[in-house]
Subunit: 132 residues, 2 copies
DNA sequence: ACAAATGCAACTGCAAAAGTTACGAGCAAC
DNA sequence: GTTGCTCGTAACTTTTGCAGTTGCATTTGT
């Protein structure tokens, strides 16, 4: 798959779930629809469950369901739940040591953090009920 | 190395060059300083040469030199020269087909393009002469 | 009991990027 | 014009992250 495959999979799936929230879906269903593997689906949706966006149930009639109203789940919620930041480098743990690297890192990471924040802000303006 | 190694290497090197523009540096010098390989340096700096930020000369007293004044080279110039976009997915060439994916892609790519643009704008506000 | 589903761990396969090696071509010093 | 240093580039190897896969324990409804 491509680069942002986890985010794509998550958004695609939630987009479908938003348009029919009562239906329970199994990871096999979702995997087949998305052209991937049930285990991959569980890995990705598991992150969303940890973040409180989805619920899952084991057993015979189990599967995945939205944990909130579709209008109350934004693209930012999904993005943050997967915690794979697109821009911010986060903790690089590099020895700052020299002045060039120190000044550089400071400038760049400030910009990147700002950009990351505005990305999240923009994503929070759209809910998954608007992308079906 | 880490994820944004090319950008890090480029910025680090230009930062040093900005603080002593007249000195000519060989890829071996730079590689040793940056803890990498001369060929990798030439690959990365080659991109910057294509973009008109650096000049290189072969032969006995050859090496790398800034092509402009340090104040006239911004972080955005370097970022764009490497053409590895951080956020914008660019041409995904996916069949839009279904309505969910279409709406999703439209929303997300709009946001991403805006964010990419504001990243470049922010980076263009700092020149390499300010990070030494 | 049985079938159907998640949860999880471990392994394989693959592709992109860094790193490496090798060699050709240009330029300066001698 | 020969030598030594440099870039330019192609080909190969190594590393690394991630999707994909397999296997099995656990839970749950029939
Ligand atoms: S070694 Fe510290 S900035 Fe280059
Ligand atoms: S198949 Fe799911 S949006 Fe088209």
């Amino acid at each position: 798959m491509k680069r942002n495959s986890r985010l794509s999979l998550a958004l695609h799936t939630l987009g479908h779930m938003a348009s029919d929230p009562n239906r329970v879906r199994t990871s096999s269903d979702i995997a087949e629809h998305a052209g991937t593997n049930p285990v991959v689906v569980r890995r990705v949706l598991g992150k969303l469950r940890e973040a409180g966006l989805l619920t899952s149930e084991k057993g015979h009639a189990g599967g995945w369901r939205l944990a909130r109203q579709p209008q109350d789940i934004t693209l930012a919620d999904v993005y943050l739940a997967l915690d794979e930041r697109m821009v911010a480098t986060g903790e690089t743990s590099e020895a700052p040591a020299c002045s060039v690297e120190h000044a550089l890192h400071k400038r760049v990471s400030t910009v990147l953090e700002d950009i990351e924040a505005s990305l999240v802000k923009r994503l929070s303006e759209t809910s998954i009920s608007e992308v079906r």
